[in-house]
Amino acid sequence: MDQVPIGLNHYLMLSGVLFTVGIFGVLTRRNAIAVLMSTELMFNAANIALVAFSRFVTPAALTGQIVAMFTIIVAAAEATVALAIVLLIYRSFKGINVDRINFMKW
């Protein structure tokens, strides 16, 4: 079989698939924590893409890695706050099913 060297496109493909999976999770999971996990997947998909670009397009500048690092940090912060909110929701709604939290309409 024709050995194609693992290139940027492969990484991007991976990132895309992971991202899609993450999106699917975000769109379908009822549990808020599960949704949060799905977003983590999407973050990771993005990070993969960033690091891949950094590796292949601007290897000297390391900009992608820097951004990815910041993303991880922000994601961590996001996760803490989101989980705090989830806890709050849980206390208020006696549950964390996202489709019950539909008071955003009207």
Binding site: M1, Q3, I6, N9, H10, Y11, L12, M13, L14, G16, V17, L18, F19, V21, G22, I23, F24, L27, T28, R29, R30, N31, A32, I33, A34, M37, S38, E40, L41, N44, I48, V51, A52, S54, V57, T58, P59, A60, L62, Q65, I66, M69, F70, I72, I73, V74, A75, A76, A77, A79, T80, V81, L83, A84, I85, L87, L88, Y90, R91, I96
Partner: protein, 166 residues
Amino acid sequence: MTEISLTNLTFYILSFCIIAGGIFTVSSRNLFHSAVFLVFTLFSVAGMFVMLNAYLLAAIQVLIYVGAVAMLMIFGVMLTTRLADVRLRHVNEQSWPALAICGFFLAFLVYGLWDTPFTVSGVPMPADTAHALGTLLMTKYVLPFEVVSLLLLAALVGAVVIAKKD
């Protein structure tokens, strides 16, 4: 004969682990299982970072994601979810449209990424990226760095305040 590079194989294995972990994460009925699969996925991503010569980032990924975020998730799951609930539906009623749309999305993505001619630089990655990253963070990106530290502080305080019982 084309050299089957270990890199390629590692890539595919890791890719598989990532995607499979991801799929299980989003599809697992049991939330705790989801969290475990997530940790798995995150580890896999960290491995992928290594493949991309981003060692420091890989370390951070493991430390933060696996060590912190995943643990948070697990704590969250354990705090909020009665495990007896597993028999309840875990996905909402729009899973099929979402699946279709995601399929479309993936198709477009694949189609778009497959033959997009990215200008790939031939310059190899520096071996010691950690040093360079450290230098960059303290020089060129010092301001975002400080902002992020502030963000973390704010998130810390905010999380405490939000989650605090009155």
